[in-house]
């Protein structure tokens, strides 16, 4: 197994790099998009709520693989040319943003309604109240579940393998099919994933205990 690791070190490392890059980019954008749709879902306007809801329900209930394939195969056919890595990262962003929207929305909902009303009564607009009063508290509440979403995101990035996204899993598949050491290859791939996910997971558990 060590020989396998040494022989294919550069492939594994480049796969690891693409996986990390895709995860960070997707996390950044899905946080923004997710929070926006979460706010839409709690806005006074009914139209906004419906839009938020439809977005979240659609992307939460379709497999990531299907969403990613759509961006890889369909969008380039009709709209704009994007490569596997980009398509995979976009798919990952959209899919994760739906889950983040759900998480943030439940965070917002668990902030006392009275606070929103009090701020509005003091003459703040909806957005001001959101920005200064509700969201800061909501984010504190949702940090542990968001951590879990990030772990899911890293794991889900393995979907890039299906669209030639050069990630860890893709490299793993390529290595396994040339060395025929299927199980050993995937053990190494698994270890690389754990290098990213386990520390986050333990940090989240630590944070959860501290916040509790």
């Amino acid at each position: 197994m060590i020989k396998l690791l040494v022989d294919n070190w550069s492939s594994f490392i480049s796969g690891f790099g693409w996986t990390v890059l895709s995860s960070i980019v997707a996390l950044f954008f899905s946080l923004i998009i997710g929070s926006l749709f979460a706010i839409l879902e709690v806005m006074p306007s009914k139209v906004a709520r419906v839009i938020g809801n439809v977005y979240v329900e659609i992307f939460r209930n379709i497999p990531l693989l299907v969403i990613t394939m759509f961006f890889y195969l369909v969008i380039p056919l009709y709209v704009v040319k994007i490569n596997g890595f980009t398509a995979g990262t976009i798919g990952l962003t959209i899919y994760t943003s739906a889950f983040i929207a759900e998480t943030v929305r439940s965070g917002i909902n668990s902030v006392d309604i009275g606070q929103m009303e009090a701020s509005r009564a003091q003459g703040m607009t909806f957005w001001q109240a959101m920005r200064y009063i509700v969201l800061p508290q909501a984010f504190k509440l949702v940090i542990p579940p968001l951590g879990n979403q990030f772990i899911n995101l890293v794991k889900n990035s393995s979907v890039l393998a299906f669209v030639a996204g050069f990630d860890l899993m893709y490299q793993g598949n390529a290595i396994a099919s040339t060395t025929f050491e299927t199980v050993n290859t995937y053990i190494v791939v698994g270890l690389f994933y754990l290098v990213i996910t386990l520390p986050i997971s333990y940090y989240m558990q630590h944070l959860e205990r501290k916040l509790a």
Binding site: R60, N61, I62, L64, L65, Y186, G190, L194, T197
Partner: protein, 217 residues
């Protein structure tokens, strides 16, 4: 370029529906099994039995942090090295159950933790044994709290069965591959109809969970 009409012939749709049937079958069996194993593991981790809980806890953390795709590979390609050669469907069920048990174990553990500690103490003070207090007092409340989390886990499970296509399990995604194997121009119509099928099943489930939740509240 894409051939929508032929792609949606009844024979193709029927074949996809058969795949959906397998998807649901695998999901239901896995969710029932992993609910049972997950509960046991979650309680063990919660119970803090010296060493044992630690070891179980570590296993849970490792498995939870691996992509499911890898677990599926290990089950199908790795287990036979130990003399156990599951067919594709049992292999998928095994992999899903193993993975989901660990996910559910965590949900159960945090559900138990969320039930007020005072209740456990009160029950024990009344002379209940730990097991009794768990069974009669803590778990019923914990499960009630966990319903949304459990249902969304079930939904992920249904969606995740699509990954099992990599070991040629005859589920929806794989049947999709066969359908567009007849004619590559079916590929986009097939992806669209598959998305619709997954959506209908998963959305129905999430509505159900909301309904149960509102009835309970």
């Amino acid at each position: 370029m894409q051939n929508w009409i032929d792609a949606y012939s009844w024979i193709n749709i029927r074949f996809l529906l058969q795949g959906l049937g397998i998807t649901i079958l695998i999901s239901v069996i896995s969710v029932v099994l992993s609910f049972i194993f997950g509960s046991i593991l979650g309680i063990i981790r919660y119970a803090k039995i010296p060493y044992f809980s630690r070891i179980i806890g570590f296993i849970i953390d490792v498995v939870r942090n691996l992509p499911l795709l890898l677990i599926i590979f290990f089950t199908y390609f790795g287990l036979p090295a130990f003399g156990f050669k599951p067919d594709t469907i049992p292999a998928a069920i095994l992999a899903m159950t193993f993975f989901e048990s660990m996910m559910i174990a965590e949900i159960i553990r945090s559900g138990i933790l969320a039930v007020d500690i005072g209740q456990m103490e009160a029950a024990r003070a009344q002379g209940m044994k730990l097991g009794q207090a768990m069974w009669h007092v803590i778990l019923p409340q914990a499960y009630k709290k966990m319903i949304p989390a459990l249902v969304s886990q079930f939904i992920s499970l249904i969606k995740d069965t699509s990954l099992a296509t990599i070991i040629v399990v005859p589920e929806l995604m794989q049947h999709g591959q066969v359908v567009y194997g007849q004619n590559p121009n079916y590929i986009i119509p097939v992806f669209v109809i598959m998305a619709v099928m997954y959506f209908v099943v998963c959305y129905a489930l999430s509505l159900l969970s909301k309904y149960i939740d509102s009835r309970m509240a």
